[in-house]
């Protein structure tokens, strides 16, 4: 099965793996080590994370990393390594100054806490590759993130992991997951949906995929190899709390693939995909009881805060005072108050947590909120479902609804802070200011690059300080994998997870619209896999196709990209005017991969569209669409014939309309091409093909009538541009028939 089945299993595969002396390894077996990833290289918590790292943001008045450290201590971890990226000094200072975790402290539950800084790290992957080089890890270790809140017991999972590892050296990792039903709030708040495909009898994870609402293909392509297993389950109902029990071989795997960045999307997906090569087995441990959730976005921050308020995270709740110096007590109406809180008699505080020395004025109502230490809440203030950090001042008669107010924010009198507001450190809002509810304001003193923003007094009012925070403009977005211009990260920057403003098409389950598919998927299995009406039944139906599909699936991806590259290169080539060699190469590829007609058609359409859209660009002369189309089709001898014979593959109308459709979709997938321009190019290309006798008017008209050509907005937009052409064709047709009639 595996090539590398030596006595040391996968360890031998790691290039930079340092083999510790046997004695040292044995000694370390008993010491449980943990690695905390305290930076996740995301900017979801901006503007709050500009001044403070995510793991120091307070969850119910306790910095997130305290929960993480306490979770590790409760599970008997002895040695902790913390990888810091941004704000590493702040984290180090926090831990060193803490009464409990400082290195001098004799009450430290850990025998050592070590900070590791990697100067040029740009991803979690860099951290883990660095860890591999250092050779600090002696045995199994627990990998967690610095924003984890959990109260589960790992002993069971650790014991199972060890048993599996002893039975098979290649069982290298166990992921701890939490199973909850679909409508759970922790699932609703997340943007990226992880899909774990698991063999239920063993808990082995077979495949891992991710989905997010902005992608246009609302489905997951299963690896055909899955059908060799007697049964498997596809889970979308798992909370991934990022707790991994790893063997050192995991680090070796990270080192082997230098381009892996994310522990799930890249690493897990990649290792599972290549398991026939690396032979590594990854297991899941699904917990049914207990709590383990990461506060890895603002929406999740809210979710975790509510869970702490609701005591789901027990014993890590304020009233157990699990951090030194805390002094919370529960009072009658379910609130938790720390020492020195003064609440005036007429104020109503329900279900909230209020930190030390905060004052609440007469007539204030505070419900289901967290308020930090030393805050001053004025008279008749209304605070609901909000998270207010230390030293904040809220003036009389103001309302704060479902918002986050960072440290030292000052809100004037009679202000309205609407739902979803994010107000960063030291922002001041003048009296009587009503913040606009839509879109929810994000206010900050700092800009995304850390420089001071100019105060926008139309927002913060007289005597205010701060401005709307705008994220960095992402220029290289085109390069990202999430293709269609919209990054799911954009959804994670807001407190309230909502898709309402995005105008997503819900009906696109069977569209071919996205560039993703055009690049990496294949029509064949996709059209079989998921018809819009039978997505539920497709699983069982699919199994019957499994045998003949399995080989084709993987090779088709390769065929598509190779073929497109070959053709585009041939079209670009300046030195030759002949297209025959490219054609030969293409046919060779086709035979080698046993590609179907439709995949050939798609590849050819994509290639020509890419070339002609390139020609539109300024660096290639910035040709007009008509010129570009002409150049693309006619500059190389034999290209037209190639399209006619191979691309269209015949004279019948349906094939021609299919090819026109393929062109249209390929255009949609071209990055950086706006819809109107794409439409113009399509019209030009169709006209060119018409005049070159590749497409006939019946073919184009059939495409025009085809519903698939306008099944979503962007496709319709492109299509609309061809109306003139089609009308002209129709007229020509009529004229022709007129002529015939008159004859």
């Amino acid at each position: 099965m595996s090539v590398k089945q030596g006595p040391k299993g996968g360890a031998a595969a790691g290039k930079s793996k340092k083999m510790a002396t046997p004695g040292a390894q044995e000694k370390r077996e008993d010491v449980l080590q943990a690695v905390i990833l305290a930076d996740s290289f995301q900017d979801r918590f901006r503007p709050f994370s500009l001044a403070k790292p995510r793991c120091l943001l307070p969850i119910a008045n306790v910095p997130a990393i305290e929960y993480t450290l306490e979770f590790l201590a409760a599970n008997g971890v002895q040695e902790v390594f913390i990888y810091c990226g941004a704000h590493s000094e702040a984290i180090e200072t926090y831990v060193h100054d803490s009464q409990r975790y400082s290195s001098r402290s004799i009450i430290n539950p850990f025998s050592s806490i070590e900070f590791i800084r990697v100067s040029d790290a740009t991803s979690v992957g860099d951290f883990l590759r660095d860890l591999d080089k250092r050779g600090l890890i002696g045995g199994d270790f627990i990998l967690v993130h610095g924003d984890l809140v959990a109260n589960i017991e790992l002993d069971g999972a650790l014991a199972k992991h060890r048993a599996r590892r002893e039975a098979n050296r290649d069982a290298c990792m166990t992921m701890v997951l939490l199973q909850v039903p679909q409508e759970h709030r922790a699932l609703k708040s997340r943007v990226i949906t992880p899909e774990f495909i698991i063999e239920p009898s063993t808990g082995r994870c077979l495949q891992y995929e991710e989905r997010h609402p902005l992608q246009s293909d609302h489905y997951t392509v299963l690896d055909p190899a899955l059908f060799k297993y007697p049964e498997f389950e596809i889970h979308e109902d798992l909370i991934d709390c990022g707790i991994d029990i790893c063997t050192p071989e995991v680090l070796a795997l990270w080192s082997e693939s230098f381009d892996y960045e994310l522990p799930r999307k890249n690493f897990l997906h990649g290792v599972l995909k290549d398991w026939e090569l690396n032979g590594k087995l990854i297991y899941t441990e699904i917990m049914e009881t207990g709590y383990a959730v990461r506060a890895n976005s603002l929406a999740m921050y809210e979710c975790v805060s509510r869970d702490v308020l609701g005591r789901w995270t027990f014993p890590y709740v304020p009233e157990t005072n699990f951090v030194h110096g805390m002094s919370y007590k529960r009072v009658r109406d379910g609130s938790r108050l720390e020492d020195g809180v003064s609440i005036s008699r007429e104020a109503k505080v329900t279900g909230s947590v209020i930190g030390r020395s905060t004052e609440v004025g007469v007539g204030a109502t505070i419900s289901r909120s967290v308020i930090g230490s030393r805050c001053k809440i004025g008279k008749n203030v209304r605070i609901e479902n909000s998270y207010i950090w230390d030293d904040t001042v809220i003036g009389d008669d103001s309302w704060v609804i479902r918002s986050i107010l960072a440290e030292s924010v000052e809100i004037g009198k009679d202000c309205r802070i609407p739902e979803g507001s994010l107000i960063s450190y030291k922002v001041r809002i003048g009296d009587g200011q009503l913040l606009p509810p839509n879109p929810a304001p994000r206010l900050s003193l700092l800009q995304h690059d850390g420089s001071l923003a100019e105060t926008d007094s139309s927002i913060v009012g007289q005597g205010g300080a701060g401005a709307l925070y705008e994220g960095p403009i992402e220029e290289d977005d085109d390069e990202s994998e999430d293709g269609d211009g919209t990054d799911p990260a954009a959804l994670q920057n807001s407190l309230i997870f909502s898709l309402a403003h995005l105008n997503l098409s819900a009906s696109s389950i069977s569209t071919l619209a996205s560039h993703d598919e055009f690049d990496s998927d294949h029509e064949e299995s996709e059209s079989r896999l998921l018809r819009p009406d039978s997505s539920g039944a497709s699983r069982s139906r699919l199994s019957s196709f499994a045998s003949d599909d399995s080989a084709a699936a993987s090779s088709l991806d390769a065929f598509h990209s190779d073929a497109v590259h070959g053709l585009v290169d041939a079209l670009r080539a300046d030195d030759s005017v002949d297209f025959d060699s490219a054609k030969l190469e293409f046919m060779g590829l086709r035979l080698a991969n046993n590609a179907s007609d439709s995949s050939m058609r798609r590849a050819i359409a994509v290639a020509f569209v890419r070339r002609s859209s390139e020609l539109l660009g300024a660096e290639n002369g910035g040709l007009e669409p008509t010129k570009a189309a002409e150049e693309a089709f006619t500059s190389k001898r034999g290209a037209v014939r190639f399209i006619k014979e191979v691309g269209v593959g015949g004279d019948d109308t349906s094939r021609q309309s299919e090819f026109a459709l393929a062109l249209q979709k390929a255009l949609l997938a071209v990055k950086g091409l706006e819809a109107t321009r794409a439409g113009a190019l399509l019209a030009a290309m169709l006209q060119q093909l018409y005049s070159l006798d590749v497409l006939e008017e019946e073919g184009i008209l059939a495409w025009w009538g085809d519903k698939r050509a306008a099944e979503n907005d962007s496709l319709a937009k492109i299509k609309e541009k061809c109306r003139v052409l089609v009308e002209w064709l129709e007229n020509a047709d009529e004229e022709e028939s007129d002529e015939e009639d008159s004859d």
Binding site: E29, G76, R100, L154, F314
Partner: protein, 419 residues
Amino acid sequence: MAPSQAGYAPSLDKLLKSLKNHPLEASIDALIFLLTRRQVHGDDCAIATAHILLQVVARSKWNDVDQLLARVQKAGSRLVYAAPDEPVIGNIVRRVLGLIRDEASEERNADDLSESASDIQTLTTSSSPPPRPPPLVRSTTAGGSMSVSKSMFNLLSVADPADLPTGASTPVSQAQPASIQALRSEVIDGIEEIMDEISQADDQIASFAEIQINPGDYVLVYRPSKTVEKFLVKAASKRRFTVFIAGLEPHKKQGAEAPYAALRKKLNAAGVNTVNLASNGLTAYMARVSKVVISAKAVYQNGGLLVDSGSCIAVQAAEAYSKPVIVLCGVYKFCPQDPSEELSWGGVKGNSSAEVSYAEGAEVDELEVENTVTDYVRPEHVDIYLTNLGPQTLHHFAGILADHYKPEEMLLSLQLGEA
């Protein structure tokens, strides 16, 4: 390799094993966090507190009685604070403080060690009418702690230098006056007495089982604790009766052993029938039941009980049917104070997911879950308090409390927070 197989999570056993290797503060803190996380709870709290206070007496530096009292009180109040739903911790702290005061006054009055030691003996066992039966089962923790503390005693005493390993004695201990040394060893002996009392309490209570349970009885127990289990097993060796086990957890984990399987096996082997009652079905059986046996977490001065949540239902059902309720509680669970105000409106809340799973979905959003860990049972619902000193009634309480606590400690409030 063996310890790593047992799991990594910290526990009381691990803490007790490591007491010698860690600084005192680290041990205190470790226990505080075990208590905070509820990794030590219930009856283990008492013995854990005694162990830690013994360490405080044996290892902290103090030059006179007041310093010692202050140290014990500081450590004690931190422990109390860590687990406000375990009043028994406060009891042990008070007992130890009282012990120190006693010893100190003994020291001043008379130097005769043996006399004061015998005084402690009478103090801790007090005026108990029934003779203390010899311990039937020595729990392992007690055995282990004995040896630990014994060696600690040797380490610090100058009275017995012959036993000392070379180099073990420190200049500090030699520099201290002999009376301090004597006091220290006396107090340590006293704490060991308390630990013995705690570990033997269950067996002593069980020894009264045959008096309390008659042949043919139908005994209802609610989520039987170890104390109740021992009591039933002891009774089963002498009597034929039927046990109803109520309060079974509604959510049964797949593959887990049936609840109380071990207890039921033991009882069945002795010829006692057991019946499991699903969740709240117990009221229907109450007419048939002849007595209810529960164990208390703590008994307050007014005779009220702090019990694990749910037992209250059994007690109230028994009240409605006028069935006797027998409460099993060691004397160390008697608190010299009245129930706290917090208790009157629901007490300490526990983990919400104990009742409603976090994985429950929509409920998590819609419900405010309040999981009450403890119930308060009013004194009029209790008929017999069965202690290790024999059956008692409310009228004996003042005497028992006076025997075990000094007036100073009875008034002492330990809810001071971290000093």
